[in-house]
Symmetry: C2
Subunit: 199 residues, 2 copies
């Protein structure tokens, strides 16, 4: 049995205000008030893990210990099978300091030159950690394949080159409502809520 | 095995432009172009069924036969256990000709006077029918209980008096992103897509 969240304040271990607000909306039904790591003046933990789950846990564990409150962190990205899971935990870094995902997609395509397999998945890891060091983790995934050239202006990151299994268009061409039905992020949050928040 | 949709045009058996657009967005990833019953000049079928599923099927079957194309219809509403499932298929009609859901919620509360049980669920039935009369149907549900007085201005219909299991706030107080994670409508569409649209 997962440990249940029974407090009323939760630190979101992120310095991205948009992400903090979005997670706050998702957890509002459980009367959880979220506070961001930035508001608390917490340091950003180094993401030294080898997996999405490890990095989410590192961030949540550090924030919980420093704040003395439960903390939630996420880590997500694109894993390409034929590239051994790359860009994976370096998904954002492949965009360089300017987070240029057009460039990042170009790098993925270049790495795939001469390789036939184009299977890929998006993953979203969530870690909920308490100040005593206990953590609950979940991971959501959506499987698909990559196309080239990228198509669509919706979504973000690698969305314009990713076609989910069963879909005919890229995530960059998919309305948010349709993407949210099957996305790695929605999958992860449904699992976390079922394990730790729902009564 | 469910019959799969393999056309490129689908009639949405609804005269509500907002609903047609929303369903079009949800099915766009499968390269399905939707056309509304209103655009085709189809008659609105009488909802003479006893259940959400029966009414969805009546509407989809009539539209498919008249248009000579596959057709999708939905029927949804609130079912209160202690009222034998009412308002159920009459959920909209309890709002009267003006579809006044404040009045409809008042009628539900009045019907519950002196009754202890406040369990309820929202259901969304979807029927996909072909011109040859074959239909595939699915139903999504979200369980919860009713509170009084209603709270919140988000959502629509009976949302302000419905608290989903595990939640502490009403659907009327819940951000759309959080509601869509667990709603009866999202549940139904995930099932339909898995059965009839995804490859």
């Amino acid at each position: 049995m997962a440990r249940r969240f029974d407090g009323d304040r939760l630190v979101i271990a992120s310095h991205n205000p948009g992400k903090v607000r979005e997670i706050g909306d998702l957890l509002a039904p459980f009367r959880v008030a979220v506070v961001s790591a930035a508001e608390l003046g917490l340091a950003e933990a180094d993401e030294t893990g080898d997996t999405f789950l490890a990095n989410a846990e590192i961030k949540a564990r550090a924030a919980a210990a420093e704040a003395g409150l439960p903390a939630l962190a996420d880590d997500s990205g694109l894993a390409v099978a034929a590239l051994g899971g790359q860009p994976g935990i370096r998904s954002a870094r492949w965009g360089g300091p300017e987070k240029d995902f057009d460039a990042a997609m170009g790098r993925v395509e270049e790495a795939l030159t001469g390789i036939r397999g184009r299977r890929a998945h998006f993953a979203c890891a969530l870690a909920l950690c308490w100040p005593d060091g206990h953590c609950e983790t979940v991971e959501g995934v959506v499987h698909g394949h990559l196309i080239w050239p990228p198509r669509g202006t919706l979504g973000f990151g690698y969305d314009p080159m990713f076609v989910a299994d069963g879909h005919d268009i890229t995530f960059g061409e998919t309305a948010p409502e349709a993407k949210h039905l099957i996305s790695h992020r929605a999958d992860a949050f449904r699992k976390l809520v079922a394990a730790c928040f729902a009564a």
